[in-house]
């Protein structure tokens, strides 16, 4: 589903954020990218959804070398990728339902599809009764659920989660992890960057560890370190 071949990425004149990284992620896998801040986890996610392009090496997603596709085709690539962030990136002037609907609206989905998909996905994330609330009326965990609903409403092949539990207390974080696990069981590949040791150790999934841009460990059913 995702393959990186000898990928190197440098920002400006600094030391490479990612150096000569190679790994492959199979369809339906759940994988953690771990390492301290600045180790290159986020950069890897940004390379996979083509927010960044590598200097060397190639990134393959769903059988395509995404560094070779035309700029105009990037939006269609992104429709196969859901993104979840530590700060949720919700639109504060829209309700929960509108935030989720927005993701479908802007890729031109017809109204009746939106009317059917949005309540279904809100039900999946456990917010069926909060569609009319605004983000500021929700707890952090609920806001993250909205962001997951928005990322998943289009049924992407892959979910990219960048520190999704970073702003949440442990219990709420666990709830989010159960939700991601549930989404994973539907066949969606989940790639999650985190430095939350507890959660990695609890989940016992594949772990790729980065240290200053270099992959130092790639372990099935791994722990944080």
């Amino acid at each position: 589903m995702i393959r990186l071949d000898n990928v190197t990425k440098t920002y400006g004149s600094e030391a490479p954020a990612v150096r000569d990284a190679s790994f492959e992620i199979a369809k339906g896998e759940f994988i953690f990218m771990v390492g301290p801040s600045g180790s290159g986890k986020s950069t890897l996610l940004r390379l996979i959804n083509r927010q960044e392009e590598p200097e060397r090496g190639s990134v393959w997603v769903a059988g395509q070398n995404i560094n070779e596709i035309a700029e105009s085709k990037v939006p269609y690539l992104r429709r196969n990728l859901g993104n979840i962030f530590q700060d949720y990136k919700l639109l504060l002037n829209k309700t929960v339902s509108e935030n989720v609907a927005f993701a479908l609206e802007v890729i031109g989905r017809p109204k009746h599809v939106i009317a059917q998909q949005v309540p279904a996905v809100l039900d999946l994330v456990g917010l069926a009764d909060k569609g009319d609330r605004f983000p500021h009326q929700l707890s952090g965990g609920e806001q993250q659920r909205v962001s997951i609903a928005r990322a998943f409403v289009n049924r992407p092949l892959i979910l990219l989660a960048d520190e999704p539990t970073g702003n949440l207390d442990p219990a709420t974080g666990e709830g989010i992890m159960r939700l991601l696990e549930r989404i994973n069981t539907t066949g969606t590949t989940v790639v999650m960057a985190t430095h939350d040791q507890r959660i990695v150790n609890m989940m016992r999934r594949r772990v790729v560890q980065l240290d200053r841009g270099v992959i130092v460990r790639d372990q099935e059913r791994g722990v944080y370190d």
Partner: protein, 300 residues
């Protein structure tokens, strides 16, 4: 498709209202610059009308001294009529003092000081001469001969006035064109800035749109429509202003119906043509300003 269109229109409207101060500035600037463009067109047209009318009309006026007697006038008339190869004798027209005064009353209606100096008794009478010959040197030579005939006060060449008017019209044309181009550039800049500000205000939305896979055109179009709308509204306002100006002007000139000034009126047909041009320029200015902004500031 319908979802996309209604989305684009809704977003355009929301953004248009949200930024009302900047939007107002952009609209007013484009309206003023377009009004100037339109005025340039109309002034030009009015001068062209005037010049065309003069070109095909009187080119030489022989003023007769107010104290000239009937015999002297007959001599001048005879001398003019004998030059049938150069002038159109059939169109030769003599205005006596009463007629000349009536004409002066109209010409100097806006200048009572000059008019006060004239009376039906001291005003020169005049022969209005329409030449057949196109050769202005020949006409000038003829005029010089008439200077020396007793009773002739002055010989005036329409060509001289024509040259002055043509020069004034040329000057006005250059000045208004330069001013309207400068203002148009300012208007494009303001539209650019308004759209850029609108995009900056909505950078979170744009970021989310890009992440969920909205195409660049889908993101751009509402902003481009916003700029286009600003340009078109500016165009409509300038059309209204120009219409008002032209109506007022035509009303003022109507008082001089049988003088040359009447030629300064611009017809409604041409007015409509200018209005269409203004709307087009407004739309293009809006599209250019917002187009540049929308393609340059999408990386937020």
């Amino acid at each position: 498709m319908l979802t996309r269109i209604s989305y684009a229109l809704r977003e355009t409207w929301v953004s248009f209202r949200r930024n009302i101060t900047l939007t107002g500035a952009a609209v007013v600037t484009s309206a003023v610059s377009l009004l100037l463009v339109g005025s340039t067109f109309l002034i030009q047209r009015a001068f062209d009308n005037l010049l065309t009318r003069w070109k095909g009309d009187v080119e030489l006026i022989v003023y007769v001294r107010s104290d000239a007697d009937a015999t002297q006038i007959e001599v001048i008339k005879g001398a003019l009529e004998s030059q049938a190869s150069i002038i159109d004798v059939a169109k030769l027209r003599y205005l006596n003092q009463a007629e000349s005064y009536a004409e002066a009353e109209k010409l100097f209606a806006g200048d009572p000081g000059t008019l006060r100096l004239l009376t039906p008794a001291n005003i020169p009478s005049q022969f209005k001469v329409v030449p057949i010959s196109q050769d202005s040197n020949l006409i000038r030579e003829l005029g010089e001969q008439f200077r020396n005939i007793p009773g002739v006060r002055e010989v005036a060449y329409a060509q001289d006035v024509f040259d002055v008017v043509a020069r004034v019209s040329q000057f006005i044309r250059v000045a208004t064109t330069v001013m309207s181009i400068v203002l148009l550039v300012v208007a494009v800049g303001l539209i650019w800035n308004t759209v850029r500000t609108a995009m900056f205000a909505r950078r979170r939305e744009i970021e989310v749109m890009k992440l969920v896979g909205a195409t660049n055109w889908f993101i751009r179009i509402p902003f481009m429509l916003e700029g286009l709308l600003q340009g078109v509204i500016g165009g409509v306002l300038s059309c209204l202003g120009l219409w008002g100006l032209n109506t007022a002007w035509s009303g003022a000139v109507a008082d001089f119906n049988d003088t040359e000034l009447a030629a300064l009126v611009v017809t409604d047909g041409y007015m409509r043509f200018v209005m269409v041009i203004l709307l087009l320029i407004g739309a293009i200015a809006g599209a250019v300003g917002s187009g540049i902004a929308a393609s340059r500031f999408l990386d937020v």
